[in-house]
Amino acid sequence: MITIRINNESHQLDVTDDMPLLWVLRDILGLTGTKYGCGVAQCGACTIHIDGIPTRACQLPVSLIGDRHITTIEAIGNTREGARIQAVWLQNQVIQCGYCQSGQIMAATALLRDNPNPTDDDIDDAMSGNICRCGTYVRIREAIHQAANNA
């Protein structure tokens, strides 16, 4: 049995040690807001937070988490930065197809918390691991600037 804490709730899991967290989230706990993209930590669609640090759930064996705290897209709106990012995302109509966007929001939230006033370069650096095939990058950048200005 493995115990993990997700969005302030404790879960007892009967899974193999090497099961990636993404499988636990989607298939066992039904938290399907986190998406499966490439499966090799290259696209960012499955980004979640571990103690606030953006992490790819598809390459994270559940046994490595220990007592660190997981936050997923379902609960990111409960944080100050997460709520602000979600609000500016809606205002700017950032989303097109939406598949990558939960990962984008998780990455943007972490950026804003670490750096309340990011430059274009800071944004490119922090967001470059999150791929969007609709090409919403320009709107993502604008929305992050707006969230920072409203701080």
Partner: protein, 396 residues
Amino acid sequence: MKYFLLVFAVIMAISARSAQAQTDLIERGKTLFRAADCAACHLSSDGQTLSGGKAFPLPFGTVYAVNITPDRETGIGAYTDEQWLRMMRTGVDRNGRHLYPVMPYTSYTFLNDADTLAIKAYLFTLKPVQAKAPENRLPFPFNQRWVMTFWNWFNNPDRRMTTDPHRTPEWNRGAYLVEALGHCDQCHTPRNFMFGLSGKAYAGTVQVGWRAYNLTSDTEHGLGGWSDSELFEYLSTGYAPHRGPASGPMAEAIENSLRYLPAEDIRAMIVYLRSIPARPNGPQRGKRVPGASGENEDVGRHIFQQACMGCHLENGAGRQSDWGALKGAHSLSDPAATNIIGVLRTGTSIKTEHGKMAMPSFTKAYTPQELAAISEYVLGHFGGVKAQIEPDRFKN
């Protein structure tokens, strides 16, 4: 009747004891088989059987690993104990043919009789697989196996290891594990002009396209700067904090062999490794030119942020797991970039108690120019080393 029952009981007791002895022997053989890392070479390409077939490209041709399952025709099933001991010590097979020293009999020769035969006993319990190894591809004169007679005169010590009474039992155990079973020197000691092991024991060298590092006590190039706990972590898991993960053939050695060793054996190996005299051999660090960030370095940085940061993070601390933590890895300050090129070209993986940790090959995703730019960037960013990497080194 009473007499008969007594005899029966004695016979049963004896056969139970000998069955237990046989089980113990096989179990010990399995432990020794792992410590000797036979699987490193003899595992089939699907990783399921010890039927061999792996190619070893050497400077003078290609040699293939043979089948060591107990198949009588294509494997080792027909070996007697005597023939087995001769093969493991002198490199002469059952039919009197000389083996090539890719098979590390110059190390296994140090093993005692009981241990050598325990490995055989274990191998004989495996399922026989009929699989003939491909013919070696060697030009004249290397295809003349009898020539090895002369090579052996100079390069095979052909003796058993003896206990050094001036050293602790732990050191002696470590010596046996490192020199005889682990055959660490086969990769980590530079070779002489005959392609035998040179006198520069454990000074580090390049083998099959990967740099095997200096294991001597030298502080700059060797293990002198490593703490015991760092070495323990690295050898038993393939990762130590601030030392980076094992990759390539070393990751295989940990996956197939070292991670199964009991903790006291790993500690004994460390005690022995500490006693290897320092040799200051190793890649000389290039000098970094301050502020000289070329166009190539920007290309490298951008690709690193897109393709590498997902697992490694910009500061190299590793995102998903410790095995992605590059920071401090020896390979990142080697201006020749041998192992950086190795992992980018072929990828690398290691099985751990948390599952398989893997880095894919990137040659299908990026051009040789881009891969050279990434290599230069990581050398500068993590290793403080300025180097120019030829894109041709990424072409097959």
